[in-house]
């Protein structure tokens, strides 16, 4: 996928509290295939405590839609982390 260079690109960097959280975020996002692979590609990785999402697309419109979707998913991940990280041994109430 890296061999094709599409004209528009954008890099999103989201800092997390720990490196483990950033790794979890990257591996949670990675499995889902992008809907139009010939128009847009996304690559997820983590660098220390940062989640890095690299977007490439055929137009700025396509990139905007893709970024917006990824941010929605990141919001769910962050909410999960906020509520549950490090709490596997406790009861909730």
């Amino acid at each position: 996928m890296d061999s094709i260079t599409l004209p528009y690109s954008l890099q999103l960097e989201v800092p997390f509290e720990t490196a483990k959280q950033a790794i979890i975020a990257a591996s949670t996002l990675s499995p889902d295939p992008i809907l139009k692979p010939n128009e847009v590609s996304v690559n997820y990785k983590s660098d220390e405590n940062k989640l890095i999402c690299q977007f490439q697309a055929v137009s700025d419109r396509v990139i905007r839609v893709a970024v917006s979707n990824v941010i929605e998913n990141i919001k769910t991940i962050i909410e999960c982390i906020d509520e549950f990280d490090g709490k596997e041994d406790q009861y909730f109430n």
Binding site: S27, E72, N73, K75, T76, C80, E83, E88, D89
Partner: protein, 373 residues
């Protein structure tokens, strides 16, 4: 030989606990189920620890769209998971596996829920993930709740209409809809009449149908073991538009001379659709030589459907009908936890790259490892 369901039990433990997440349509459900070791039986039942649901309800006349439904699920999923854990009174380390609906269903809602499943599984020391076929969830939960051991299954919901029978470790589809699902047909007619979607459009149609008296003529479209419903919907929609449109036209019942009401339309639509279901279910019973019918799926909570099915089954020797109430009929998380746990106990776990959801996932694709009859 019976299937060994306890190869994967955690050392020193006498039970399993599974968390199930469902979000394939407009219901977001999270449930926690407990199985004690040993095969499930009348004396060793699965135990429902919690079963929480939140439904995305749209205004009258509107259906639920994938984008908006996904947004609803994202808004609620973490809160609902927490609520289910609180009610079940368990902690993360008690959980053996996290089960999620992998399909069939609407893409965006499914995806929004699996994100939470993946994150939670990894946060809590990589709890195994188990992908579950939504239809299998309905079937297994129905069997567990009702105690039906080998029924013909009528699976009727907003997205699916199938007559299913078990054979050689697969739930095989005997007959199904050729176009739209029965629940979709009812929901869309509810939209035409601008009937509220709260608590459910089908429920409101059912209540109106109770007041209907006149049966109007509608097409009857059984095609062998399958059925078609879009033509019926088109016909009755047209009729409703004629009656309540810009230039209202009075339609008179031929026998009594009384005017046809919206209640009569609901009544007639239900009668014709349910008769078709009864016909193909009866034929499936004859094919597989069974006398048990299990009704699952959201439309299965319709009491008129249950009644009509009962009339048919009573004429068969030792005929029995099994149905569940809305807690288990309508989409829920507990059925995903239950079917997922059965699969987990026979060795299924999904690696994270193998947790991609799919809109199309047929019932007979799943190998039923936990049954050997």
């Amino acid at each position: 030989m019976t299937v060994d369901l306890d190869q994967y039990v955690k050392p020193g433990k006498g039970h399993y606990i599974a968390l199930g997440l469902e979000g394939s349509a407009n219901k977001l459900g999270v449930g926690v189920i407990k199985h004690n070791i040993g095969p499930l039986s009348q004396t060793n039942r699965a135990e429902v620890l919690s079963n929480i649901r939140d439904t995305y309800v749209t205004p009258p006349g509107e259906g639920f769209l994938p984008r908006d439904t996904a947004r609803h699920h994202r808004n609620w999923v973490v809160r609902i998971i927490k609520k289910a854990l609180i009610e079940a009174n368990i902690k993360g380390t008690d959980i053996d596996c996290i089960c999620f609906t992998q399909g069939p269903g609407m893409g965006a809602p499914l995806q929004s829920v699996v994100i939470a499943a993946r994150t939670l599984a990894q946060l809590w020391n990589n709890i195994p993930l188990v992908g579950v076929n939504h239809c299998i969830g309905h079937i297994e939960m129905g069997r567990e709740i009702t105690g039906a051991d080998n029924p013909v299954v009528l699976y009727v919901s907003g997205g699916n209409t199938q007559v299913i029978a078990y054979s050689k470790q697969r739930y095989r589809i005997f007959g199904e809809t050729l176009d739209i699902a029965i629940g979709n047909c009812l929901d869309r007619f509810a939209r035409t009449l601008k009937i509220p979607n709260e608590p459910a459009p089908g429920y409101n149609i059912e209540q109106m149908a109770k007041k209907g008296k006149h049966l109007i003529n509608l097409p009857y479209t059984v095609k062998g073991m399958d059925m078609s419903m879009s033509g019926i919907l088109g016909y009755i929609d047209q009729l409703a538009n004629d009656m309540f449109g810009k230039q209202p036209k009075k339609v008179i019942d031929e026998v009594s001379g009384e005017p046809i009401t919206p209640e009569d339309l609901c009544f007639s639509l239900q009668e014709i659709l349910f008769s078709m279901l009864v016909e193909i279910t009866e034929r499936a019973l004859a094919h597989v030589n069974s006398n048990q019918v299990l009704i699952v799926g959201g439309v299965g909570s319709n009491e008129r459907l249950q009644e009509m099915m009962k009339l048919m089954i009573q004429d068969r020797k030792n005929g029995q009908i099994y149905a569940t109430d809305e807690r288990f009929c309508i989409d829920n998380g507990i059925m995903i936890a239950h079917a997922g746990l059965l699969s987990y106990r026979t060795g299924q776990t999904n690696l994270i790259n193998d947790t991609v959801c799919t809109q199309r996932f047929r019932t007979d694709e799943v190998f039923i490892k936990w049954r050997d009859d």
